[in-house]
Point group: C2
Amino acid sequence: MATAVLPQPVQNLINELARLPGIGPKSAARLTFFLLRDGSNQALELADALRDLKERTRFCSVCFNITENDPCQICDDDERDQELLCVVEEPLDMLALERSRAYNGRYHILHGAISPVEGIGPEDLKVDELIHRVQNGSFRELILATNPTLEGESTALYLKRILAGNDIRITGLARGLSVGGDLEYTDEITLGRALDGRSDL
Amino acid sequence: MATAVLPQPVQNLINELARLPGIGPKSAARLTFFLLRDGSNQALELADALRDLKERTRFCSVCFNITENDPCQICDDDERDQELLCVVEEPLDMLALERSRAYNGRYHILHGAISPVEGIGPEDLKVDELIHRVQNGSFRELILATNPTLEGESTALYLKRILAGNDIRITGLARGLSVGGDLEYTDEITLGRALDGRSDL
């Protein structure tokens, strides 16, 4: 007697989806059967989007932002401050800063943070490219805007150490209360940093 | 000053992924950037798997299982009991029954369960096809193996009502304790059903 197994294309897709971070075998199976049952062309549209992602985007050769054109629109924009460089971990961090409309300089995307636990060292990030850019550029200030996490803070400290001596001001983002947040529910470390950084009203 | 936005292919993929059930905009963005950074060809392999899913699989015209060949290997297997029909909600339910190696008959896949809340009625499922199969076949027993949920039980009751009078035995799977489970943590409804269905040792 033949025992039923999943057809190869179904099993393949489950395996492929299960390789994605945060998607286990059960979610992968659920997604696959959703796409199988789906009457529209969602699976094919997703396939096209995936293909486009690889074929139509690249890293900006200056800042390592993700872009369709090299250099990217920010590096190519003469109206931005040429002497201000903000270092972030991910392209999404850059977008968050852009949304704030409070920054008008250049960016450098590290594509991660130093994390000995995950085996990520400076050589896995765009650190050499940053050093080269700082040494060959005319930046007056470097804003280290890594995440306020253990990995982000370590990365900022590391960068500060190797970039010191380049005659450039090195700054970090202020820590403090979230606007619209609640003092009662603010963690003690953030509250401590907010007190340290208090200013005259 | 130009404000940075995500390149169109990146935003497209985030949108496509966010349309999948259980994946929100944040997970979609995380997955997209994972695939962008990924050095291997995972995005392209996933695209191929999605394309194959649509192009190389179909529903079996007899039981509505997912298959590469029509009829599927189970409907095509003469060694299986021709007079026994097991009705399940999903292809994965059928695979679970196959793994038990305790069933040797045919299947019928409904592709869902009746759910007024989600607006799913019998006309959205393979119910007409089941009625046709039962009336034109020579089945001696119909096992309604829908899920032990409100929707599954309602679907079984509905099927029992419209298929009664076809001179066919209609059965359901036993409810009771999970093998290897713990009596202390078994919910009271299951425990009640296990008591009702007790048998001599």
